[in-house]
């Protein structure tokens, strides 16, 4: 095996570093530090020619890598954990780059690693980044083929690097159309060959299955998109946009949780039927790694692989790990079950004993004013309490102790949707009215240019539903009483102050507009799937054709494109202007030839000079001397330029030719 040039190792390490950046940002900080330490050691070892690590130490480092991932994630098989493990193993591989083969293995795997990062982020920027990694990898592969030439000057090396990077870039540009055609026509898998282990999902963001103090608060700081909605029918006003997520029934005094799985997965007793007032829309959901889909109340038409729970939440069979597009038709006026199951009623009234005695006393006193059957009035009275007393909407409320509802209602009186929904639901249960908390998103930003609604994580919301015998489950949003602007224009408008130092109005406006790019990217690229492929064929009326012809229709564009690309690849590259002197000298010779001089290009410049001198017209002796001098000067300058270290500046040589060429041309060659 030939020994590796230092240069090649540098390029390989640079490629690895570039390919690792998203990983460093995505994974816990200890993984980044370990990886950086390994790369740093390799660089220093290269620089100071340190001895290679012993095999034992390497084994220990590998075990450390596994341990680090295990400690960070609790397992090593999840998608993120596996990707982090790959990153660490690649960093370890960088410790033993001794042969060309080592470097090639490392470089090939860098692109693989980048592909694993695409599992977590699929923005257009990531694709550009991926192409940059490919470019650098190709350049590093070429470095492995080129023996390091010590004689190359610094500027020469730079030009050739630029030229090679350019030719790599050109190859990528030529390859892109073929890749695009393959992307569209290459058959997709309608169902995955192997599934994703649900327990191994680790990149969870967004709403969770339970609500404890502060859980929604974190989401307020997160401006990343949760989903985007395109309405097919007219868009309801913002105050009607309650995107239903997990419905919470069980309260232990602090934490709200969902119904037990057995109950949750029961189908609802009544299913809404379509009416003329239905709202139809398509949702483009960002990967949440959860099993639920968001929808407006109450879904009439739902995606095929989903089902309605007993509390009218949409649940899918597998977690949403990829951006996913689905269509829902909702019927807002639907009234759920006229009768509440006994067990469910019990769940909806259950409260932990010995909590919040003050609230219990207060609601009992209030309840005595309202006889049975006037629950609506009681509810109104409780809501009025929120407006009459001084309640504040704040994202940074004081922490609450054991009797959280008591403290909130009677002392702190400051909080956000979570506090209001929780307190209200507890009060309702104390008053004997079945109630539950619903979490989800509320409102959204309407992008008029793209005609879609953008719902961000910061639009997360919690509200209540109470059971009234006459009208079933009724949505009550206590937050809207305290801070109506939250419902009309979002949480940011309701608090009035910046959430953090980089929370500017103009920045948010800009981000809302820029989201348009992501929206179209998701729509046309990320969403493309087996079904879009068959839809495309249907649109082209190709779905009726026999199978064997279909194959040709898929193969033909690929073959055609390859045939079209090959001439582009074979086209000789024009002389670059990397050497202006050479170009100037060539054009000088060309103009002499045009004037009628005869000489061989491949001759040395002194031979050419001599030959030119002999061809000069003898009829003009007074001009001939000057012309001879001019020929000699240019010939010498070129020799100095081309062969000696002591070079004239480029511009001077070019000037020289410009100045002397007319003198030579003044004397046309004599006819022989």
């Amino acid at each position: 095996m030939n020994k590796l040039a230092t240069n090649s190792v540098h390029w390989s390490l640079a490629t690895l570093a570039l390919a690792s950046i998203p990983g460093w940002m995505l994974f816990p900080v200890q993984i980044m530090l370990f990886s950086l330490a390994l790369l740093g050691w390799r660089l220093l070892a290269l620089h100071f020619s340190w001895k290679a690590l012993s095999v034992l130490l390497k084994i220990v480092l590998v075990l450390c890598g596994f341990a680090l991932v295990y400690l960070s994630y609790g397992h090593v098989f999840g998608r993120q954990a596996a990707s982090a493990l790959l990153l660490l193993m690649m960093s370890l591989k960088s410790l033993e780059l001794y042969t060309q083969r080592d470097c090639r293995v490392l470089l090939s795997l860098t692109v693989f690693m980048v592909a694993t990062f695409f599992l977590f982020r699929q923005s257009p920027g990531m694709l550009i980044y991926g192409i940059a990694v490919v470019l650098l990898m190709l350049h590093s592969l070429n470095q492995l083929l080129t023996p390091s030439t010590a004689s190359q000057t610094q500027s020469g090396a730079l030009t050739s690097t630029a030229m090679e990077v350019f030719s790599g870039f050109r190859l990528i540009l030529i390859a892109i159309p073929l890749a695009a055609v393959l992307f569209v026509v290459f058959p997709r898998l309608a169902t995955p060959l192997w599934g994703v282990n649900e327990n191994s999902l680790d990149g969870k963001t967004g709403l969770s299955e339970d609500m404890s103090p502060g859980s929604i608060q974190n989401l307020f700081m997160d401006d990343s998109p949760a989903f985007r909605v395109e309405f097919e029918t007219s868009r309801p006003s913002n105050s009607e946009l309650y995107w239903r997520g997990p419905v919470l029934w069980n309260f232990d005094g602090r934490r709200w949780t969902t119904l037990f799985r057995g109950y949750r997965e029961l189908p609802p007793k009544e299913i809404p039927t379509p009416t003329t007032n239905d709202i139809a829309y398509q949702i483009q959901l960002e990967p949440s790694e959860r099993r639920w889909l968001y929808a407006l109340d109450y879904p009439v038409i739902k995606p095929k692989d989903s089902q309605l729970t007993i509390d009218y939440q949409l649940i899918t069979e597998i977690p949403v790990t990829n951006p996913r597009r689905y269509r829902v038709v909702s019927e807002p006026a639907f009234t759920a079950t006229p009768e509440l199951m006994r067990t469910l009623r019990q769940f909806a009234l259950d409260l932990p004993p010995d909590y919040n005695p003050q609230s219990r006393a207060w609601i009992n006193a209030l309840k005595s004013n309202y006889p049975a059957g006037s629950e609506r009035l009681l509810i109104q009275a409780v809501l009025d309490n929120f407006t009459q007393q001084e309640f504040y909407y704040s994202l940074n409320p004081p922490p609450l102790g054991r009797h959280s509802v008591d403290e909130f209602l009677f002392s702190t009186r400051s909080g956000y949707c979570e506090h209001y929904a929780s307190a209200f639901t507890v009060l309702m249960r104390m008053a004997g009215i079945p109630a539950r908390v619903v979490t989800g998103y509320q409102g959204g930003y309407y992008n008029a240019t793209g005609e879609y609604l953008l719902v961000r994580q910061s639009d997360a919301h919690a509200w209540s539903e109470v059971w009234l015998d006459s009208s079933g489950w009724v949505r009550i949003d206590p937050t809207s009483k305290v801070a109506p602007e939250r419902i009309l224009s979002g949480a940011r408008a309701a608090i009035g102050e910046a959430r953090n130092w980089h929370d500017f109005n103009w920045l948010r406006q800009l981000r809302n507009q820029v989201d348009l790019i992501q929206h179209f990217w998701n729509r046309w690229v990320i969403d493309f799937s087996a079904s879009s492929q068959s839809r495309l064929l249907q649109a082209l009326n190709l779905d009726q054709i026999e199978k064997r012809w279909l194959v040709w229709i898929l193969v033909l564009p690929v073959v055609l494109l390859i045939a079209l690309s090959i001439p582009l690849l074979l086209r000789p590259r024009s002389f670059t202007d990397s050497n202006p002197n050479l170009n100037a000298y060539r054009s000088y010779l060309a103009s002499l030839r045009k004037a009628g001089f005869k000489f061989t290009d491949s001759d040395s410049s002194s031979a050419i000079s001599a030959s030119l001198g002999s061809q000069l017209n003898k009829q003009k002796p007074e001009l001939k001397g000057t012309a001879l001098d001019a020929i000699r000067v240019i010939g010498k300058a070129w020799n100095r330029q081309h062969y000696s270290k002591d070079k004239t500046a480029d511009t001077e040589f070019i000037k020289l030719i410009k100045e002397y060429l007319p003198h030579i041309l003044a004397v046309k060659p004599s006819k022989q």
């Binding site: 592909a115 190859l171 390859a175 073929l178 995955p192 690229v525 690849l569």
Partner: protein
């Protein structure tokens, strides 16, 4: 392979490589890389991750198109006939082949002959010399033999190569006999010459070896004794004439005869004699000089060669 190659076009330099002579196959690394890309494509299809899928297809397309670039790297390469100097049997022949590319680009080429490998890195506008060394064991013609010009540029995914079947050969002179009989001075009766080898190594007629003097003038025995290189005085002063005749040698072995004639020729030349050569089927008039010597040695080398 030879037959396929010959059918496809001329392989004798000077030649300019084109599609007829160039073969392309994926290299081992290229196969490995495409395997990795396919695994990546399968995983991307499985997870329905479109970004990873685009990246995989891009890599596949790049791989495919690199084959064209690998071809382009060899196409248009001009190979000149090899230049070589004659050697004596037992020495190493060096074939110098000049390779030229017409276009302004960077080339990394490898040349293979049997197990021998050398690499040329052509930078824009240059012409490179490729040296192939071959051990010359027996007198006669030493053909350069088939050799391969190969390039894995760019990226090493593909291997493009051409077989070159040159007509070039190196003339290998017979090994000079280490102890030839005394020169047959047919025309110089009475003038008995004592060739240095046969007599004692007296110090007269010897001087310290100087750089640039022919190696065959070194008096090895004296040198060993003096612990420095000693060479014989040029014996140009003798100025006689000698005919090196095949029939004058009594040995029956053909190769030995040629060996002795070779040694005689070298001796006569170094002594500055006018000498002629007479072997069956060829006669060289007495003369002196480098060209004369090489003409004679060439005849000895190719004796019995029907080509």
């Amino acid at each position: 392979m030879r037959r396929i190659g010959e059918r496809r076009g001329p392989l004798k330099p000077p030649l300019r490589l084109n599609y007829r002579q160039i073969f392309i196959l994926p290299s081992r690394f290229g196969l490995g890389f495409s395997f990795m890309t396919m695994v990546m494509t399968m995983a991307a299809l499985n997870f329905n991750n479109n970004l990873a899928l685009i990246l995989s297809y891009l890599l596949l397309s790049i791989l495919l198109f690199t084959s064209v670039l690998a071809y382009k790297n060899l196409a248009g390469v001009e190979i000149k006939p090899a230049i070589t100097a004659a050697v004596f049997a037992g020495e190493t022949a060096i074939f110098s082949i000049s390779i030229k590319v017409a276009k302004n680009r960077r080339w990394v080429l490898q040349c293979w002959q049997q197990t021998q490998q050398s690499q040329v890195n052509l930078t824009p506008g240059t012409q490179a010399q490729l040296l192939i060394r071959k051990q010359a064991n027996t007198r006669g013609r030493l053909p350069l033999g088939r050799w391969k010009l190969q390039s894995t540029w760019p990226y090493g995914f593909f291997r493009a190569w051409s077989w070159i079947l040159p007509a070039d050969y190196c003339v290998v002179y017979p090994t000079p006999a280490p102890a030839p009989p005394v020169l047959p001075f047919a025309g110089l009766q009475g003038q008995q010459l004592e060739p240095a080898q046969s007599g004692d190594d007296e110090l007269q007629g010897l001087h310290e070896y100087q750089h640039g003097e022919p190696l065959n003038r070194i008096a090895w025995r004296s040198s060993a004794r003096a612990d420095k290189l000693i060479s014989r005085e040029s014996e140009q002063t003798l100025g006689g004439e000698v005919s090196l005749n095949w029939d004058a040698i009594t040995t029956s072995s053909l190769e030995e005869k040629l060996s002795i004639l070779c040694a005689w020729a070298l001796q006569s030349e170094s002594m500055g004699l006018k000498w002629g050569l007479k072997i069956p089927g060829f006669e060289l008039k007495p003369d002196t000089g480098k060209a004369h010597l090489h003409q004679a040695l060439r005849q000895l080398a190719l004796f019995g060669d029907d080509e």
